[in-house]
Symmetry: C2
Subunit: 482 residues, 2 copies
């Protein structure tokens, strides 16, 4: 529910809300690169400050991987509870009774900003252009985290606190695979109360259609380096007499795929689960056009992938394998005639529901060992492994999220479409972890758009999405008053 009081305060707070968004996005909290350690500390400070400013209590917990997760707790406010019950009585709200409340999850760390030269405005100098704010982390995930924090602030200002118990854990290691979070979930299990986990780190179906995501792919990420000579050597003096690691690396990477662009590792597809007929039918109603909806916006002319599947299936239910980076030898201007001492690649798998990251890692590493490298030596580093995840489509909390989205659409007088239930190709490693450690299912209520350029230069978050996100989170708390 969004009542008149919430809405009035919401309208009055626009300018301050944007200032807080800019302040959050100005912080260079890049978790992948230790050079940004100060930005990471500042990111955690900001989150803790916002929790306290909205009437919550904040606690910082350093993970075994060395960065702080911030835990926030807001107690139920009886005035808010009465207001929500009243709204429910008038028919404008109503959902399941939350005993333990909601547990919000988000992350304040962001992807590295490079290549810097492709940003129109600097990644940590947030700039509003044409109704969107541009900055690293705008959509993934700081803007969405702030939607939740602003909702808590709104309830605080209107009634003194939220109408249902709310807990949040906002971590700083999501972009590197959340290596330290499992230990925090385990050690803080008594603090992390909730009937379910609410996550805002996904996208809407389109500008008009909110989406609740119930399936995610997993992730397995590698840094592969192939070493040969003790130094770069002259390609004239040595060309043809020993195995060039850049050539061998290319052959190995090229050999990962068969002619149908299927991953050539034996057994790779064995555990992949097929979508149900009900799912396939629901997806056919989404009116998804691969070119228009996915490829045109990023300048790709031609879909291509595992044969026998549609583009939507390739993205949501089939695993994929990508080379995320190539390096080694000379990459500068002009010509340098060297055989590089080493060559490397960043490589990652997206795992489909029911695949096991552990088993795929074993199969891949065994396959790699069988590839002839003719005297070269591998150095293989695994950066995070996250299991795929599926949430029951009939969960009551999914229904509550639908109610909250509709309430926010009404309050904003958006001529929006009915929220849809979808899957996602991306990975939120903690979803499987919450299930495993706390036994909680997750509801993914996201406010990004597919053209937000997350993980890329000129990442943005549209201000209309920010508005919808703030009010949806505010409404969600009201939906939990039975």
């Amino acid at each position: 529910m969004i009542d008149g009081k919430l809405l009035e305060l919401w309208r009055a707070g626009e300018s301050a809300r944007l200032s807080r968004l800019k302040a959050f996005l100005s912080i260079p909290s890049v978790s992948a690169d230790s050079a940004y350690a100060e930005g990471m500390a500042a990111g955690a400070d900001f989150v803790a400050g916002q929790i306290e400013a909205s009437g919550g209590s904040a606690k910082r917990v350093e993970t075994p991987a060395g960065r702080d997760a911030v835990i926030g707790r807001w107690e139920v406010c009886s005035a808010a509870r009465r207001a929500a019950a009243e709204a429910r009585g008038s028919g404008s709200a109503g959902g399941p009774q939350a005993e333990r409340g909601l547990l919000f999850y988000g992350h304040y760390d962001v992807q590295p900003p490079d290549p810097l030269e492709l940003w129109q405005t600097p990644p940590f100098e947030p700039t509003v252009r044409d109704g969107a704010i541009y900055a690293r982390g705008a959509s993934d995930d700081k803007g969405q985290v702030l939607c939740f924090l602003e909702a808590m602030r709104l309830w605080r200002e209107a009634y003194g606190g939220p109408p249902a118990p709310v807990t949040a854990i906002i971590e700083g290691e999501e972009e590197i695979g959340s290596p330290g979070l499992p230990a925090v979930l385990d050690s803080q299990r008594d603090e992390l109360r909730g009937d379910f986990v609410l996550i805002s780190d996904t996208a809407m179906w389109d500008r008009k259609t909110p989406a609740i995501t119930y399936g995610l792919r997993g992730l397995l990420y590698y840094d592969l380096r192939l070493h040969q000579a003790s130094r770069d050597v002259h390609s004239g003096m040595y060309g043809g007499v020993f195995a060039n690691p850049a050539v061998i690396l290319a052959r190995v990477l090229g050999g990962l795929f068969d002619a149908d662009h299927r991953v050539a590792i034996p057994g790779f597809y064995d555990d992949v689960s097929s979508p149900s007929e009900a799912e396939r039918e629901a997806w056919s109603k989404l009116n998804f056009d691969p070119e228009r909806d996915l490829l045109d916006p990023i300048g790709v002319a031609e879909p291509y992938g595992e044969s026998g599947y549609t583009t939507l299936e390739r993205k949501w239910v089939r695993p994929s394998l990508d080379v995320n980076g190539l390096f080694g030898g000379y990459a500068g201007e002009g010509a340098k005639t060297v055989i590089p001492a080493s060559a490397g690649a960043k490589l990652s798998f997206r795992l489909a529901p029911n695949q096991s990251a552990t088993r795929i890692a074993e199969a891949f590493e065994a396959w790699l060992e069988r590839q002839p490298v003719h005297g070269c030596r591998w150095r293989i580093t695994r950066h995070g492994a996250a299991e795929p995840a599926m949430t029951p489509m009939d969960s009551p909390w999914v229904q509550a999220a639908g109610g909250a989205l509709r309430a926010a659409q009404r309050a904003l007088r958006i001529e929006g479409r009915e929220p849809v239930l979808v899957r996602e190709g991306a990975t939120i490693p903690v979803v499987a972890e919450f299930e495993k450690t706390l036994g909680l299912t997750s509801v993914l209520m996201g406010f990004g758009l597919s053209d937000d350029a997350v993980h890329a230069p000129n990442e943005k978050f549209e201000l209309a999405c920010f508005d919808l996100g703030c009010l949806s989170h505010a409404a969600m708390a009201g939906e939990l008053v039975g």
Copy 2:
């Protein structure tokens, strides 16, 4: 010939000679990168200054590619001529009568110095350690160019000038494939007098054994870039739905070789000439051990290459294909889950005598066009093409070079071995160009060593090689007095 007077002056000049070598090596004359334009100008200044200081006249000619070549001319000095004839009369010298004299060729430009972090001392701060001087260009080719210039200085100090006519052209574009030199050879053909071309840009057979090189491989160098999306995109949101250019590039590069590590481009080997029986017999006497002489010094445990050939044949008479660099996407610390907008490679062929760079370029580019890239787009840049070269083994100037090397060994009281006639796997693009434009054969009398780390971090030139080079060039001028 090296007479007593030359030798005495030589001994007295050691400290000043080393200072000049350090001054030359301090200049960052990197031709491949326009950021070093000032270093290139300073390199040409230094060479012109040395020519004039040794009694020659210097002229700078800007090539169409924008860097200066320096032409030097030293007139015959009659006192020197008499001294050389006298030495010949006493049996200590004697070679063919040079009508037009010798035309020396060398280059003052150097390879880029990166990766900088692997240098023990900075690349442009020459440092003497254990009898060798370490700096970018120490062996390739500044140290060897200075051997020649020091020889001219020695004749100038001893007799007022050299005993035979000497011309030199010292260019600044060798490391980028000498794009502007053909035009200079053509426009300056009247100035570039000589009976043959003398080049010092190769290596000795070993520390004890000087080598005269008569065969060189050619070079064909490419920068290949494969473009797809208009920006880097999230590998979770897009993984599996379109062709990742880093994956496709790896497949294409991997497909360049067959299972026998032969280049898979149709017709690639058609024109390769086989070595003669006489050559094979001579090579068998070289006592060449691939592991000991070639691979162990650079930390490579295992030879590998085109099947059916020895390591020496793979290096000298067979073409090769190398990836010199790989780039694209994320190469930093940790994980970044992107599909790169583009991926690229530096790629080069070493061409065997009788192959044609033009025909191989056509065959390669046609092959490339046939590879499926599934919507990706190539951007292909060719950086220089140099034909392979062969010089007649029975040339009188080759004999003169042998005499000069022996004379220098005697003067230095080195217990050296007889000079050997060899081929080389590397490329000196101008050798074919001198043949084509001026009709001159080349004699390659080099003073590098195979472990000099040319084109790599910690390049060095041994001071004993510097000494042998200086006196061999001094003796060479004497050998040309009939």
